[in-house]
């Protein structure tokens, strides 16, 4: 959850992450339903996502249509409930459309990292020995960079663009996810019943599929939801620096950058895109906290 480097892996207790045991997910679901804060921010997040998906149906105006006469109008201006930006485009429409790119650029890197980092971690943990060292020591090199610096360095070298921004953030999030996956896999591999399965002739693939993945997936998924909040801030940050989306696309970080000069004219309108980034990131963080405590049956 640290903006500068992803949080250390959550404490893992194999004994209680028995995700296969009957009734586990039912219990988790019941605990979630009682957690008002998590439910509320889950609903907020759902609303933001739905707004982004159905943007063409909801947005009152064309987010690209400029208007030289109506520039930087204040909140509540007739026809523009949230005012207009520096080229007279409708802010409300741009904020609604902005969620599409901001969410995509924030979520994609974590999904990429979940797949690649998860695989690397499971391989390193299961194989052990030299393979483990080779994979995990390479990951250590990426840990030698604060994540903001790493993301900006890679994006800066590759050049601006949505694809490059997603690529650079994927690289940022692979090492922490690989670490979590590796820790759990190593623990599971040494459990008595896994040894027994191996002794009775189960193939590696079968052991990984049945015993390792069931324990790894839940943990890295919860961890990944907390990374999404960092990822959204960083992705918009890259666009804010001019390293992500290019104008005239609506994207919260880029909009914030374009409105920087407008703070002397119409400060409240200029600050709006940041509110969206904050709400989204906060919702992901609280959702992740809620999920984590719901899945920790000892608490």
């Amino acid at each position: 959850m640290n903006l500068h480097t992803p949080a250390p892996p959550p404490p893992i207790d194999i004994a209680q992450t028995v995700a296969n045991s009957p009734g586990y997910w039912t219990t988790v679901g019941q605990r979630l339903l009682r957690d008002k804060v998590t439910l509320f921010f889950g609903a907020v997040l759902l609303l933001i996502v739905l707004m982004a998906i159905f943007a063409p149906l909801i947005a009152p105006a064309d987010p690209y249509k400029t208007n030289i006469i109506r520039r930087l109008k204040e909140i509540g201006f007739p026809g523009h409930p949230l005012g207009t930006d520096q080229t007279g485009r409708d802010m409300l429409s741009r904020l609604i459309y902005g969620g599409r790119l901001s969410l995509f650029m924030g979520v994609m890197p974590v999904i990429n990292a979940l797949i690649i980092g998860g695989m690397l971690g499971v391989i390193a943990g299961y194989m052990g020995g030299a393979v483990n060292s080779a994979i995990m020591r390479t990951m250590d090199i990426f840990y030698a960079f604060p994540s903001v610096l790493l993301a900006i360095a890679i994006s800066g070298a590759l050049g601006a663009g949505i694809g490059n921004a997603i690529l650079s953030l994927s690289i940022v999030f692979i090492p922490p996810i690989a670490r979590v996956a590796e820790t759990i896999t190593t623990q599971v591999r040494n459990l008595d019943y896994v040894e027994a399965a191996r002794a009775s002739g189960a193939s590696s693939l079968r052991i990984i599929r049945i015993h390792v993945l069931s324990n790894v997936l839940g943990a890295i998924f919860v961890y990944a939801t907390s990374l999404v909040s960092v990822s959204i801030i960083l992705a918009s940050g890259l666009s804010f620096l001019g390293l992500g989306t290019k104008p005239p696309e609506p994207e919260w970080g880029l909009m914030l950058n374009e409105l920087r000069q407008a703070i002397y004219v119409n400060p409240y309108v200029a600050a709006l895109p940041g509110v969206m980034i904050f709400m989204t990131s906060l919702s992901f963080n609280l959702l992740s906290d809620g999920l984590r405590s719901a899945m920790d049956l000892k608490s």
Binding site: A144, A153, F240
Partner: protein, 316 residues
Amino acid sequence: MLVYILLRLLYTIPIALGVTVFVFALIHLSGDPMSAIVAPDATAEMVEQLKKSYGFDQPLPIQYLLWLTKALQGDFGNSIVNSRPVLDTLLAAVPNTLMLAGVATLIGFAFGCILGGLAGYYQGGIVDKIATGFGIAGVSIPHYWLGMVLVIIFAVELRWLPATGMGAGGSDAWQWDWEHIRFLILPAVTLSVIPCGIITRTVRSTVAEILNQEFVQALRAKGLWHGQVMRHVARNAAPTVLAVMGLQLGYLLGGSILVETVFNWPGTGYLLNDAIFRRDVPMLQGTILLLAMFFVALNLIVDIVQTWVDPRMRRS
């Protein structure tokens, strides 16, 4: 203890080498590093000559070794934009970033300890709820946006503090007086929000954990009053909290680029941003390498100090 320190030092060497390989590889990720140097109307001959003068005609491993040897001697090459040595420009910017990150870490540390300490002591109370909420908000807030909001409030609306820059005369004329410190307040507060949130969370959980231990009950049974008990708690919490603070300083040194951009603060992040957009490859490499090495060194120091303070941490 000595063995641990030696092993830890030895472990740092491959990491540092790996970092140099990565930084070197970065410019080759960016396509042809020559494209930024060569004028579009240059003849093929001139291109060849330029390639030679920058060493780009050699095979990659040789280029890497040449670059590394020079970098180890403090020669990061010359900037493509102004032809001045990269190291000189960097050394002028480093103190500004250190100052900003250092002050931000101290602010974060002070507020984090107070909030987190109170929250840990009064677990489940209203203070705890506020501190926890504050901690989560601190790590969820896009700090470049917070910078803008603070400028709007304190510079545009209230006109109490300046919006950007480092004051008259830039970084050369910096002094620790109110005329100059005014310029530091907004960027430092903006940057401090992240360490503040994280230290609040760390202190809260550490204090809560220590308070639940048996020796605290024993202290209370002995008849010590709150203040004395808290002194024991603080001494036990110190190693963890100091380690987190040390690492936070490292993150801020490398991660201040967004805040430096918002406030036009002439530090390393500002340099990096500038180097990216002018495609100044030596400057880009030099800045990233230096910041990453700072971080590696800081990690090393934090580990060693922590081992020294807390003997239980000696792993080897």
